[in-house]
Subunit: 335 residues, 2 copies
């Protein structure tokens, strides 16, 4: 048992985002031909990634990945932490590594030397500001139990797992290894379910993970209903309360509910002048919540931090905060 | 002699831009230590590019390069054209190639197989919205006379040369080869001086090029004064009128002056609500001007197209237009 010096170490996909504009017609055509789901994330292979990229407009590239975005927010709040995720030894991998390190986060996962290139998420932005994501996971799903740096995990109060990584077997084993390392040190394990389709694909594995290894669960309404196969939100809430210590369920403009044993804490959504791009709201809610939690705040305050971080990210394009969240939290506290 | 089917083929640097925020203090420190010039472009080598990148904040990546940005604007106006520039056979090169091809431009220069990686421009944006550029030219200066596709040049009314490329000997030879190919087909050669420091570094070569090979010259006040070593703008104008058929001199908020023999045509700057980022103004002025010119418009109209394109690009962050310039030109014409 060691005294933790870091707040959160995340285990997630290491991806570069490629963003470009697309028409509704293009998405409809791609839906018909390839099952692209508007507003959702579709997994694609390397060939399809190359083909789709060739059809996309000129774009911009930026570091992404759900848990990596959360860690960007967590660091912006003032938290100290690390990231474990697999890049390849290529230029996109170097960009990902640069961006995550300049946030002050520890990132030491050995890049994949041979095989898939660094993963990427091709993001199509329609005129209604919705994002349709197409992810070629590339090197990121080659994350194996060997990549789980137990010394790093031993330093963190919370080990945070990204559900999206569950799309490959050895990543599942890596998750279990990470959870066991955290618990061996008496620390907490958090999980984000990431996506209802991802939950559908791996429900029984997710349930086993949640029951046996997870202390803090992040999900939205759809994901939690899907996980417990409950049509009614209250039934899903009651199921989750039996399985984890704390659950934080985000409900878009209705805010969030924090569940801890018999406690139900309602968190109001933070007002936003104009919602520009809702992507990343869940990731940033987790960032604010985790920051509050690792700073020893009560659950209502953790939820409020989450709501403030989520409101910041939906008020502009891009899944990472554009202002220092530490300043924003201080300002909102004073108000 | 062949009838041209394209408007403009540009010969320029193939660069990826890496943009991130920086403080005034950082720029001042880098100026003291490494001669970084705020608001200007400094050439850096690969080692320095790696070191500087490591010190920069998390950024976004986007295709850049002066003449490539002009061609993006030219295509956005509705023009047909091509680009000749050297990328490496790597991921950044693939991004550059993708972005330029999706603009509808022909781009077939063989990537550099061995040696330098694709060039990049590290752009530091200070809180006053100024951009300080640090360019590692990489593969782009490996452009050689062999890369000058004479068949492509034969198809274009104008071959447009980027002054920045003049920083290496074999690129100079490539320029001459391109100019000779254009003239052999009875077509025009245009040059942009790009940067007063670049003119300082290569004044006599630039003068020889302008005197012997250039029909249309783009420059700003500082560049034209530097080229002819005249302190007075009118003296520089009189010198340039003896050397080229047409010169378009941009003067920031004072608009532009078009010089053709004894003619002096004054072009007013297009009003802009808020100037957000002045980078790319010259490149987009050239884009609009070249579009008008290749469409057979008179010089005053060419200048007005240039002013409209420049106004669009300075009203937002980023050196390429965010709206279809063809629509903007039509709208402004109707008004």
């Amino acid at each position: 048992m060691s005294e933790p010096t870091l707040g959160v170490v995340a285990v997630g996909n290491a991806l570069l985002d490629v963003l470009s504009n697309a028409s509704e017609e293009f998405i409809a055509e791609q839906h018909a031909q390839f099952g692209m789901e508007k507003g959702s994330m579709t997994l694609i292979d390397e060939k399809r990634a190359v083909d789709l990229y060739a059809m996309m407009d000129a774009g911009i590239e930026t570091s992404g990945g759900s848990a990596a975005n959360t860690m960007a927010g967590f660091a912006s709040c003032g938290g100290k932490g690390g990231f474990i995720g697999k890049i390849a030894d290529d230029q996109l991998g170097k960009i990902f590594a640069h961006d995550i390190k300049t946030l002050g986060l520890t990132f030491e996962t050995t890049p994949l030397a041979v095989g898939a290139p660094t993963g990427r998420c091709l993001v199509l932005i329609t005129p209604d500001a919705q994002r349709t994501m197409n992810t070629f996971l590339g090197a990121s799903v080659e994350l194996s139990p060997n990549d789980i740096d137990e010394d790093l995990i031993a330093q963190a109060k919370i080990t945070y797992l990204e559900g999206y990584l569950f799309d490959k077997e050895q990543a599942k084993s890596a998750f279990i290894a990470a959870a066991e390392a955290a618990h061996a040190n008496g620390h907490r394990v958090a999980l984000t379910l990431s996506d209802p389709f991802c939950v559908d694909r791996h429900r029984s594995d997710f349930l086993r993970l949640v029951e046996n290894h997870v202390d803090i669960l992040f999900a939205n309404e759809d994901e939690i209903k899907s996980l417990f196969m409950q049509e009614n939100f209250d039934d899903a809430v009651s199921a989750v309360s039996k399985n984890v210590e704390v659950a934080a369920i985000t409900r878009s403009e209705k805010g969030a509910v924090i569940i801890a044993g018999d406690q139900r804490i309602t968190v109001k959504a933070e007002p936003v002048e104009t919602v520009v791009d809702t992507t990343g709201a869940g990731d940033q809610f987790a960032a604010g919540f985790l920051y509050g939690y690792t700073e020893g705040e009560d659950l209502a305050t953790c939820g409020r931090y989450g709501a403030i971080a989520a409101a910041e990210v939906i008020s502009h394009v891009g899944p990472r905060p554009l202002v220092r969240l530490a300043d924003l939290l201080k300002e909102k506290k004073a108000a």
